[in-house]
Symmetry: C2
Subunit: 463 residues, 2 copies
């Protein structure tokens, strides 16, 4: 008996010791831990979310009815009107639209035609913000380079030419630089236009658009993306010593700013309504495809997460606010305007969550905030292990919540299986059929559990 007693005591100490290192108990002063307190409600949320196809259906209706939703377009504003109506029918609270002035870039007609060594139409997309060409287009010889370094080495050959950056896919960050500052680098060495290989690991003759920029003091030259296939072909032609001549035609221009809106709705907190957990995505898209995964899906998943909580009668202590930011793609005006309009509330913004990586199979969240807060959201994450979405990693957020994160608001981004995201990103192929209803529902579940627990738990997520 004595031996058994000693063994029992040992087990108790062992259990206590384990509890100390168990993240479920590290940060909370309270007993039981957050995960334990919210286990039941989280299971309820996840169960209902998975049996609910309304997020996928609503997203389908959004993208079928309005198509892509580019800043400055009627589609975007019509979609916003519809969303505001739908939010009313959901019974959400404090539904409102906050005005935001957004850039108004219009693509117009555009084309790229290879004239030498043989005639070929080159599928292309002008890059957002680019200037157009003269009415007859720009006809010039092409210089293909694989990198900025190669352009520097061959700078003397670039004068009067169209530079094509045939940069191979090296992941998004390194590769997208050619989209961002290719026109600057090409103009600096005297090029008359700049082309890039589309920023993607995979192509089916698919051009990708996206944002680009100019620098003060450097001539503004047209900048467009070719397909990976054609960029590689032009490289081969150059390597064979063939002269390549392309006519680039773009009507692109930037019109005066127009008014758009950030739209939002809430479940008002029952105890600390002034404290806010904000979640959402960007409702604008590029002017191609349906903007289903970038980022209609993120918007609708966040919206449906809040609708689901409402439907389940789960009113948290704090306010949960779903926001659909406008103009992420070519200006970030929505995220900036939100920061400015809500500046006095930012100290009470407990957490900002963004979903803008496609609503593919969710894996967890990336979090930017204090260690103490990381521990707490990790505990909440463990509730999502049941749907394999519990992996909380350090670092994360989103472009739209960036401005308030820089003001000190902890930020979080939904992590998903991104293996095919950049196949579709900013292309005509970003359409609803690429998403899976089950995965969208899981994303709703993950967003609902995370936002609800942070909004409802006694502890205020520390900064």
């Amino acid at each position: 008996m004595a031996r058994e007693l000693r063994a029992s005591i040992c087990l108790v100490f062992l259990a206590l010791a384990l509890e100390v290192v168990d993240s479920t108990y590290v940060s909370g002063q309270q007993q039981p831990g957050i995960a334990e307190r919210y286990k039941e409600v989280a299971e309820q949320i996840m169960t209902v979310a998975q049996s609910d196809s309304s997020a996928y259906e609503r997203l389908t209706e959004l993208v079928d009815r309005f198509g892509h939703r580019f800043s400055g377009s009627p589609n975007l504003e019509q979609a916003l009107d519809w969303i505001l109506q739908e939010m009313e029918s959901d019974g959400l609270e404090n539904i409102r639209a906050e005005p935001v002035m957004v850039p108004h870039w219009v693509r117009g007609s555009e084309s790229a035609i290879m004239l030498e060594p043989r005639w070929k139409q080159l599928p292309m997309l002008g890059l957002g913000g680019s200037v157009g060409t003269p009415p007859q287009g720009i006809t010039a010889e092409v210089l293909v380079v694989e990198s900025f370094e190669e352009l520097t080495a061959r700078a003397s050959e670039a004068e009067g030419k169209i530079v094509l950056f045939n940069a191979p896919w090296m992941g998004y960050g390194p590769t997208v630089q050619y989209r961002g500052r290719g026109a600057i680098a090409a103009a600096e060495v005297g090029a008359v236009a700049s082309l890039i290989r589309s920023v993607t690991p995979y192509s089916m003759d698919t051009p990708h658009t996206g944002a680009m920029r100019y620098d003060e003091g450097v001539p503004r030259i047209p900048h467009a993306a070719l397909t990976a296939e054609d960029a590689a072909m032009l490289q081969r032609m150059q390597d064979r010593g063939e002269r390549i001549v392309v006519n680039l035609y773009m009507e692109a221009k930037t019109l005066p700013d127009v008014e758009s809106r950030n739209v939002m709705a809430e479940i008002v907190g029952h105890e600390k309504p002034e404290e806010v957990v904000v979640l959402g995505g960007h409702i604008d898209s590029w002017d191609v495809g349906q903007g289903a995964m970038d980022d209609g899906g993120g918007c609708v998943a966040a919206w449906e997460a809040v609708k689901l909580l409402k439907r389940l009668g789960l009113r948290p202590r704090r306010t949960i606010r779903v926001v659909m930011w406008t103009n992420e793609e070519n200006g970030l005006r929505g995220g900036n305007a939100y920061r400015d309009a809500h500046r006095t509330e930012l100290d009470n913004h407990i957490l900002a969550i963004e979903s803008d990586a496609g609503v593919f199979e969710p894996q967890g969240f990336g979090f930017t905030g204090s260690d103490a807060a990381f521990e707490m959201v990790s505990q909440i994450g463990s509730l999502l292990d049941a749907i394999n979405a519990g992996r909380i990693t350090r670092g994360g957020g989103g472009a739209d919540i960036g401005p308030i994160m820089r003001e000190g608001v902890p930020g979080m981004g939904l992590s998903v299986d991104g293996s095919k995201y950049f196949w579709y990103h900013h292309t005509h192929a970003d359409t609803i059929d690429k998403l899976d209803p089950r995965e969208v529902a899981l994303s709703v579940a993950a967003l609902a559990v995370m936002s609800y627990v942070v909004a409802d738990m006694e502890e205020r997520l520390p900064r």
Copy 2:
């Protein structure tokens, strides 16, 4: 000792018994079997083929220089001129071009625009042989059906409409029927034009063209393919009760036949030059993409197989003839013309091999011929097990060799990993980058070994 002797005798009998059922020995009266006799040379061929990148390089040059090679186009004839020159530089024998009159369908400008419920450009490709629309296009309401059966059931709704066959991918054979006879079925119920969902299991906003037909006595209406994405969207719109209106514009027309050529070259047999093993693919393609896998790759792999034998000094007993047939895609005039031009030689056509499934990783051959011949080619196949291309299955051939197979010539088709073939088939995405140099080289190896052994073995492949 007696027991050991008995055991030895048993083993000898067992070995003999096994030899009887071993396919290596079944059909040949000779000892040793075919595989054994050709093991060394097959290994040599496979080794050299795998260290040789010239097939991929030549294919790249072909498709980069000439692009797609549609019947009636200058591209096709220029490619044929170049091929004839290159065959000369390879030192091949009896290089010649045989004239073939081919159809001359021209696509012209074309578009499909959804006008209701909202404006959207619908990427499309007219189907080969289709008539065009009047100059203002055809503007009509759309009726979406998923099958011929559904069209029959809804026949009373089709009058004056554009019928869209939104048939899901059910494999190529069942699905391609909507491309082949959709215009007939739609016209029979009074439709003014016919659209199909592109024939593919996967799409990145990718329309697929291909052949279609009309029937005598049924009005000829325009027939075109939309993307899988848009076909599905139109289905959803109809299911929601929305009225869909599309303007279809096609300048397509059929001009008088023009002359093209089947081109061919040989290694003349040293013992039975009048007996011929023929191998090849079709050099024409649709007027999209580069026709790299359909079927530039098949042509070049067969050509390079023969060039490789020449380079290795392997002159077989019988003649090996590589043929690039013209006009497979929209007429099969090349295959028919070959049959007619070579009718008196067909009894001495020992075997015809076609590669027209893309030069992806080869797996073996499908064979159509007698059981005795199947056994022999299976033995040869076993030589290709070293490169995992030794699977000989029953049934196989190719469209171009179909006409001579119907005259009794045994036929064979190269089998490959076809998992992505129909992603690219008849699209702008059929480009060289989708092929892998190693897999192309393996296809060359498989074709070289099979054609050489059949042409060289003492036994004549039985009918």
